[in-house]
Amino acid sequence: MNGDFVFRQQFEIKGGDFSRGGEVSCEVKNLLKEFGLPAASVRRAAIASYEAEMNVIMYADHGFLDFSVTPLEIRIVVEDNGPGIADIELAMNEGYSTATPEMRELGFGAGMGLSNIKKNTDRFEITSEVGKGARLSMIIRAEERRA
């Protein structure tokens, strides 16, 4: 990471607060636009952070999104105190979901979240301890769309 110019900001995410869902990732998107990073990277980062933010809102009481940017890459780490993920490999499968019927009624829980993050990031790692929480770490390279 080019250490000369780093922007860092941490955002709180309140679990269960669906009415404010998407506000953090919207802020992330607007900041990236202000940095003049390529539109494709901004879009990918916005989608990935939205999915991660909604996961916190759906499953945890509390979490935060740690956002750091250099002219070369965007790093997003989302940590929460939710139930954790027992089988990470299984959770990465499209369509796999532990969402409750209530969440599904709200239009969430299609089991696309984590796979959507993977699709929109250049590096994606999950660490989790059942009963304690999850930590999603992702990197999006800030580069022009490949021709």
Partner: protein
């Protein structure tokens, strides 16, 4: 005609007292108070007219066409918004209003509801012919188009490229009147009667046409009184009411200026209708990150409840809406537009944009991303020092915007009265 300034909104320095009402309510943070008077930042203003609603001193002028400007034309045509039908008492019928416009000096009055039905039908055709992208976004509200160009540039290609009814009507008139009447085109004035100032900017600086087909727009506010004056006399002249009975009102078209008016007739598509500036921004944020791909059409109108809530109307929007809905149900779903016409005009591109709506991206904090990041860090540091009271006393709408102005070189920390106290 009025001079062509970039925005139809301007601040009347004599009436402006430099309070914070417009400042804090501007959805794009396009106003600052400098030297005790409000100032508009041209690049940020989207012409929504929220400032007109919130100014307690009537200090926001909107440069719409004035009645006296019409004398420049030998032959004057009015194209009133269907919102006009909701501005008068329940027993004043659309034909009374259209006739009143003739009596106050228009040589011809073009009733818009049938064209609204036509463009609605064209919209349905377009949705069927174009399965991608989704959601498509209706383009009738010029503020929504301007908002997308500036704040959501990646959504420009989602805008349905069909001109709004007022432009189509003017195009039809423009193409034929001069020939039929044997008058030079420049002597014919085609004037929209508008509920909002944004129509003026879409006439002076169209986003999807080389040149607008309209010559100007008079606000409902300005034309209300002249209409009332002749409506009253009209009561004794029952015969005159029946002088021009040919108008074909469309029940499908007449409600399109209400929120949901365009989506109502699209029975085979998934649609939503959003109104109000804050909700419009919220939904466009969702569309931008691809959350609304299941929707076929997104109808956004920045005024509450649609054009009936425009900043230049007279009647409160609830009454106006009730009257227009009364007309919608009285007229029913009978179509007045021939399907063959839709096919001819739509597929011959008569209704289409001349060119796509182009993004007008806001400049980043700095042309160099490294410098932009540095500035954002500085902005965060400054913001932490500011009192977070968002009082507006510095002239910016909130502390964060002051910090932003400082890193852009437009303001200094001492503009904050709390900081200057701290310094002493």
């Amino acid at each position: 005609m009025t001079p062509k300034s970039r925005h139809p909104l301007s601040i009347n320095e004599e009436s402006c007292v430099g309070c914070v009402h417009c400042l804090v309510n501007c959805p794009t943070k396009a106003i600052r108070i400098k030297n005790g008077k409000a100032r508009l930042i041209n690049e940020l203003c989207i012409d929504c007219g929220e400032c007109i609603r919130f100014c307690p001193h009537g200090a926001i002028d909107s440069q719409t066409t004035s009645f006296s400007d019409l004398s420049a034309f030998q032959y004057k045509v009015a194209i009133p918004t269907t919102v006009l039908y909701g501005q008068f008492d329940y027993n004043v019928r659309p034909n009374d209003i259209l006739f009143a416009l003739r009596r106050i000096g228009f040589d011809q009055v073009y009733e818009l509801s049938s064209i609204c039905e036509l463009t609605n039908a064209a919209l349905e055709e377009y949705l069927q012919d174009n399965p991608k992208p989704r959601p498509l976004i209706a383009s009738t509200c010029p503020v929504v188009v301007r908002l997308i160009q500036r704040r959501f540039p990646s959504l420009c290609e989602h805008i349905v490229p069909i001109e709004p009814p007022r432009e189509i009507a003017a195009k039809i008139l423009r193409a034929n009147l001069s020939r039929v009447l044997k008058i030079p085109p420049t002597d014919i004035g085609i004037i929209h009667i508008t509920p909002c100032p944004a129509k003026m900017v879409s006439i002076n600086f169209p986003a999807s046409l080389e040149k607008s087909y309209l010559d100007g727009a008079i606000s409902i506010r300005d034309i209300y009184k002249p209409i009332c004056q002749v409506l009253r006399r009209n009561e004794d002249e029952a015969i005159l009411r029946h002088l021009f009975p040919e108008t074909l009102l469309s029940g499908i078209g007449i409600g399109t200026a209400l929120s949901g008016g365009e989506t109502r007739s699209l029975k085979n598509h998934r649609t939503i209708a959003v109104s109000g500036i804050q909700d419009t921004i919220r939904i466009l944020n969702q569309a931008e990150i691809g959350l609304l791909k299941d929707l076929d059409l997104l109808e956004c109108m920045v005024c509450p409840d649609g054009c009936v809530g425009g900043p230049l109307v007279v009647e409160n929007r609830f009454l106006a809406k009730s009257r227009i809905l009364g007309l919608v149900s009285a007229l029913g779903d009978r179509t007045v537009v021939d399907n063959a016409d839709i096919n001819l005009l739509f597929h011959k591109d008569f209704l289409s944009f001349q060119h796509p709506v182009k993004p007008l991206e806001m400049p980043p904090l700095d042309a160099d991303p490294g410098q932009a990041i540095q500035k954002a860090n500085r902005r965060n540091d400054l913001n932490k020092r500011l009192p977070q009271k968002d009082c507006g006393a510095c002239g910016a709408p909130d502390c964060r915007t002051l910090a932003d102005d400082i890193v852009r070189g437009e303001a200094v920390l001492a503009d904050c009265p709390f900081m200057s106290k701290e310094g002493k």
